[in-house]
Symmetry: C2
Subunit: 474 residues, 2 copies
């Protein structure tokens, strides 16, 4: 077992002070494992409380060839924020970067340190009627949301973190820990290459995000939701197009839930009511949400009434693409949607794939996979759900647990490779829709990225982060 020389611990301790550096196993444990995957072992956990301190830590580590893995909320799913098993990588936690929180109401923007959690940000913004429009099951910190370019369930309306990022402050992984300011919160600025874009979604490989300027949106004040049951896969796409045509920018979300995923969720969370008449769960269900940012006005149709009218119109479409529809309370309808992920896990070992396609391709892919997997891996159950409105699908495969509870690692790897190959090579899809890059998908990056793009990354790293920063190697 290798260990980092004790004088490095002393050197970093001198920079960070006693509160800022952890090196005892018990203190480091929570920084070593991620939310949904096995972690590794850290040489130390550095917890700088300012951009300047981040810069000093990076400068020290790059100068001494110590590898660093930046970590903020550590809620990621792809191994992007935890150290490997070597015990030689330091974790650079951003969880004490919590000073700057500057709301610019006129600009509808927020400049915030990387260590604030999404829930905190939105709780603080609520009194102003504003929010950061990324909607997730998890509760990440600002820095990690940028590093993974998080999407979420309202992507269709508000876009991803990239679209909502107006500026970044970064510490580059070079020997001086260069601090870089990219963007001053302007909504339009073409005075040079938009460099901040390369730091979004790249897991810290080019530099560490310490401060973000985000676009804010007005909080919804009226919401209406419904479950739609399409006749088949192509009908789901038609319903998407019809909803966009008729609901326009009211449309917040168009989320698909497979019947299997719903069954698992209901079995796992008995408090959830089965919303389907007679308990018969359809093969596929779509959750649509409409919202308005203004309070109801006198003389204005309620949003529920608007939704009802739209569904009545769609009901009459030739071919009957809509088999059934239910308008219901948003909180109840979303509760089922948010229980899908845990539901699958309760049913077995989950091999989760975060895929995306052109929108027309997503239903074709899942229907084809159902046939292929039944033939090739009959023991595996598909329990997928996803963001049909933007072509994303969480393609979860449930493998029955062995009696001794062990996980068949080899089968999981085969499944990942098999499904990813078909998604990427035969359906022009992406193996990383919205969970970002990490150790988990490093080999897919290595395999599928054209040589020229790898060369561009290597060249760009030379001038930004020649040091070993980040869990992923671009």
């Amino acid at each position: 077992m290798m260990m980092l020389a004790a004088d490095h611990i002393d050197g970093l301790g001198a920079i960070l002070g006693p509160q800022g550096l952890l090196s005892q196993p018990a203190d480091m444990a929570s920084y070593e494992s991620g939310a949904r995957y096995d972690g590794g072992r850290a040489a130390f956990v550095a917890r700088p409380a300012s951009t300047e301190a981040v810069s000093q830590v990076v400068a020290y580590c790059v100068s001494h060839s110590i590898a660093l893995v930046p970590q903020s909320g550590n809620t990621g799913l792809v191994g992007g924020s935890t150290p490997d098993d070597s015990g030689m990588q330091g974790v650079l936690s951003l969880d004490r970067l919590r000073s700057t929180f500057e709301l610019d109401i006129d600009n509808r923007s927020l400049c915030v340190d990387a260590g604030f959690r999404l829930s905190e940000i939105n709780a603080r913004l609520e009194p102003y009627g504003l929010f950061f429009p990324i909607d997730l099951g998890a509760d990440p910190m600002a820095g990690g949301m940028v590093a993974t370019n998080t999407g979420g369930t309202r992507f269709l309306r508000f876009g991803d973190v990239r679209r909502n990022t107006l500026g970044l402050k970064l510490v580059l992984g070079d020997k001086s820990g260069t601090v870089l300011d990219c963007g001053a919160g302007l909504r339009k600025d073409n005075s040079g290459p938009d460099w901040k874009q390369l730091f979004i979604g790249t897991g810290g490989a080019f530099g560490i995000v310490t401060e973000c300027t985000f676009n804010l949106e007005r909080l919804p004040k009226q919401t209406a939701t419904a479950y739609l049951v399409p006749r088949g896969g192509e009908d789901a796409l038609l319903l998407l197009s019809e909803m966009e045509e008729r609901a326009g920018t009211y449309l917040n979300a168009f989320e698909g839930m497979s019947g299997q995923a719903i069954r698992h969720a209901l079995a796992h969370a008995p408090a959830l009511r089965n919303p389907f008449p007679g308990g018969d769960i359809p093969a596929y269900v779509i959750l649509v949400e409409l919202s308005r940012s203004w309070a109801p006005r006198a003389g204005e149709q309620s949003l529920d009434a608007v939704l009802e009218e739209i569904l009545a119109d769609i009901w009459e479409l030739p071919g009957g693409p809509l088999l059934d529809a239910f308008i219901g309370a948003p909180s109840e309808m979303w509760a089922l949607r948010h229980a899908l992920s845990e539901g699958a896990k309760s049913a077995g070992n989950v091999v989760g794939l975060d895929l995306s396609f052109r929108r027309g391709e997503v239903m074709r892919f899942r229907e084809r996979m159902a046939v292929l997997l039944a033939a090739e891996f009959p023991q595996v159950e598909i329990s997928d759900f996803g963001h049909i409105g933007d072509g994303g699908v969480h393609f979860n495969l449930v493998v029955p647990r062995s009696p001794d509870g062990s996980v068949d690692v080899e089968l999981a790897a085969r499944l990942r490779t098999y499904v990813t190959r078909i998604a990427v090579e035969e359906h022009d899809g992406s193996y990383s829709a919205e969970h970002g890059l990490g150790r988990r998908n490093q080999h897919f990056y290595d395999h599928y990225t054209p040589a020229k793009l790898k060369q561009m990354a290597a060249q760009f790293r030379q001038v930004t982060s020649p040091g070993a920063v980040g869990a992923v190697h671009l």
Copy 2:
């Protein structure tokens, strides 16, 4: 006078055929001058008709150290698409790149060659109820819109070209004219750095856009417009915030027009009716537009009625920020807005600055500049208008024409430098909001860009475009 060796003309002619290469002065003239600035002199104009031919031309030119300036619609304002005066640069026109036009209705996206004009794209999309949501006075081609990251009057609702670009095909400026595919039209893809972002808004300096995949939006089917007269500059910001609060995503545009700009437009275009009672033009007027993408539904308030109600509510706000308001026909209201630019030019020599600020800063900047310019440059008149909703302002300065019609080039340069310095250094603004980078603002790039960012650009150019491609040097 230098000239390019005749055997290079022969070499390029062999690649391009007789239709594809222009070298006679009369044929080249229209490619040598831009829309609103003096042009230069071209060594030749290459007009390849396919990405492969672009690649061959670039490979030939880079290998023989011939500089190339890519040009598409040539409607830009900053000298980004025309050659310099040396007569040694070739123009690489994309105007024959007009084959691919692939509409993906399910994905709401369009894959289109760089040589299609915005007006053509939208005319072809209209039967499908879709459009590319960039709204401009000019009629650029797809490639140039990407190279400048064009904004326009509906930015507030639909964003810039960057936000609406899902993929690019590029030819890099290296010795092999490497063809690069960035993005396959996916709406979410985090399988690596989003390289296409660096080719957006950089005027071809890193590579030449030959094909674009754009996001499309549904065409508006209901529109309502009004002129608002704010009491003062801060009130304009308050009106913006109130409109966003009450109109939400209906709000398409929030455009500011100075009284001076309106006066010039009315004087220049007598067919325009003075819309203000008694003919008294207010100091500042805001054009707001609301739209919906669906046809009017039975039982639904008309959009005019919604706008009227919103304005009635705003009318009652304490402090009376709204001095006056007029609802009118969209075509008539926009006609005045679109006449402002020509109006200013009819009044004298225009020194045009394309600035942007955080939204709260834009009105403060223009009020401060009114005082400063009156003291420093009393002969100059401000005739500004702009996209207040996204912090952009076309800060046009009108210098009276000298009796002999000559332009005081030295005064124009002093004005540009003076205003830009205050905008950038004292109001955190950008000297290039939405017109892109070109020869016109090269010196501002050189002056204001931090050394580290210049180093990043140089490094990135080494791996993408080591040859001399583009009018701007990053």
